[in-house]
Amino acid sequence: MRILAIDASGQVASVALLTDETLAAEYTIDYKKTHSQTLLPMIDEIMRMIEMEPDELDAIAVSAGPGSFTGLRIGAATAKGLAMSLNKKIIAVPTLDMLAYNYMGTEHLICPMMDARRNQVYTGLYECKQDKVLPLSRQTACSIDELIDNVNSMCRTTIFLGDGITVFRELLKERLTIPYLFAPPHLVKQRAGSLAVAALHYYIEGKYLSSAEFVPEYLRLSQAERELKEKQNADQTNEQG
């Protein structure tokens, strides 16, 4: 089983190649958001390094979202183009699941969080069972306050990771009432190696799609849709009032 894993959901661009039990290649850049220029050359580079042709791949894994809208689509279009051309399946792994897999094996609670702006985070809570990382609840967009209350109520040591901790570290330190850890640099952000491992579990469980079926999961409407909805709701309230 050879899985090419692609992530462009945040500032990191990361690609990896998992062959059965071996992470044959992993290439991660956390520099600037120039994914549209770097992603495919990175894939080309790791494939050449391990002397593999694209048609030897069995599946394409990609972070399904949430994340940067544009970044998600660059990853998605790259995965779709590859999967369609090679007639292979796409394994779409929620971005927060992928982040949680950085901590496979821990006995603590895992809380990946991504900055969603406007004082919100994309987040989820995870724990390890045997060789899997399982979500306690589905990934969601919520306010940082809601997340802090929720984690405090779990009364367990919690590991925080994701780009959200850069923004909310001080607030978390101030408000958390449970023991906690912040992930070190090598585990804090998206890694396509973790994505590939998560994807293998997904694949075994039959969770994969055709390239045409796959669409990113933004967890948030576009600004225009949100404003239209707010306006419609306000109009409705006025009418009722």
Binding site: S36, Q37, D44, K80, L82, S85, A212, A224, E225, L228
Partner: protein, 346 residues
């Protein structure tokens, strides 16, 4: 000795620069084997214009289905292709990126060369599809929602801009005026339709000429004149005849477009005039340009409606001429939203 038997070149082209997700298979730049367009226009109408984020989301939802349909309709598999062509600018950056990322991945996976195409050069090249005898040099009037240019196509893929708009694009003026008289989005076709029921001489809207720049355009004055007319009528409490406004506005725009094109053709001794872009589908412009070209003894070509609005067949046509020149793009090809005509960032 040069081989007499030329191999056919078949290109899969992808276009996602605005609100149409499109893919086409084109042979030798002229023969369209398939031309699939998934339009999102209904989605954007309720917002009064294209919403970039919504457009990008629809592109990623539709793109694989559109490409597969294009291949199926053409009866072509990826292994029978010679190259992948894709629009990389100008346009909405998020929208362009979907097509560019997809095209690069297909080119990489299928071991095919990649050809980045300029969207507007695609519009110009749309003329090659239905006019097998059309060859450069020719003069081309490019009129769309984002562009108003007079361009000399010196040879395949070589463009010299001789005139451009100083403010609004012609199509932009159509959209703005349509909105102001309550026609909504998209303005061009609605004004064109209303014009047929209106009097083009009802109001004298200005024909703008720019001192020292005989080939350049300006449409903000015409637009303002329409808005002023509407404001004055509203203040006086007068009813306006929307059809007359549409017809008079369209006549003013068309007059300027035709006159400047004819002047340039004469000055540059051009024998063929082409039109390109969404506004080239305007029936008033077509009729007026036909009459003028007949008078001046010029050959006029323009694409049929389906190749005037955004499509991928035109990208396939333009890609072919880049392909035979060996102008290939790397896997690091990026979307360039402000790409200029004749500029290469491949």
């Amino acid at each position: 000795m040069e081989s007499k038997i030329k191999k056919d070149i078949t290109i899969l082209a992808i276009e996602t620069s605005c609100d149409e997700t499109a893919a086409a298979v084109v042979r030798n730049g002229r023969t369209v084997l398939s031309n699939v367009i998934s339009s999102q226009i209904d989605l954007h109408t309720m917002y009064g214009g294209v919403v970039p984020e919504i457009a990008s989301r629809k592109h990623i939802e539709n793109i694989d289905v559109v490409i597969q349909e294009a291949l199926n309709e053409a009866g072509i598999t990826l292994s029978e292709l010679d190259a992948i062509g894709v629009t990389y600018g100008p346009g909405l950056v998020g929208a362009l990126l979907v097509g560019v990322a997809e095209a690069k991945a297909i080119a990489y996976a299928a071991h095919l060369p990649l050809v980045g195409v300029h969207h507007i050069e695609g519009h110009v090249s749309a003329n090659y599809i239905e006019h097998p005898d059309l060859e450069p040099p020719f003069l081309c009037l490019i009129v769309s929602g984002g562009h108003t240019h007079l361009v000399v196509v010196k040879e395949y893929g070589v463009y010299e801009i001789i005139g451009k708009t100083h403010d609004d694009a012609a199509g932009e003026a159509f959209d703005k005026v349509a909105r102001s008289i309550g026609f909504g989005y998209p303005g061009g076709p609605k004004i064109d339709k209303a014009s047929k029921a209106g009097n083009p001489q009802a109001m004298a809207f200005p024909r703008a000429h720019i001192d020292g720049h005989p080939n350049d355009f300006s449409f903000s004055g015409i637009k303002s004149a329409v808005l002023n007319y509407l404001n004055q009528a509203a203040m006086k409490g007068e009813e306006v005849n929307a059809n007359d406004i549409a017809a008079s506005f369209q006549a003013a725009v068309v007059d300027v477009l035709v006159e400047k094109t004819m002047n340039a053709a004469r000055d540059l001794h051009m024998t063929t005039v082409a039109m390109a872009g969404g506004v080239a589908s305007n029936s008033g412009l077509r009729t007026a340009m036909e009459e003028a070209c007949k008078r001046e003894n010029l050959t006029l070509v323009y694409p049929s409606l389906i190749y005037c609005t955004d499509n991928a067949a035109m990208i396939g046509a333009a890609a072919y001429y880049e392909y035979i020149k060996g102008n290939f793009s790397g896997l690091d090809l990026n979307a360039v939203p402000g790409l200029k005509i004749g500029e290469r960032k491949i």
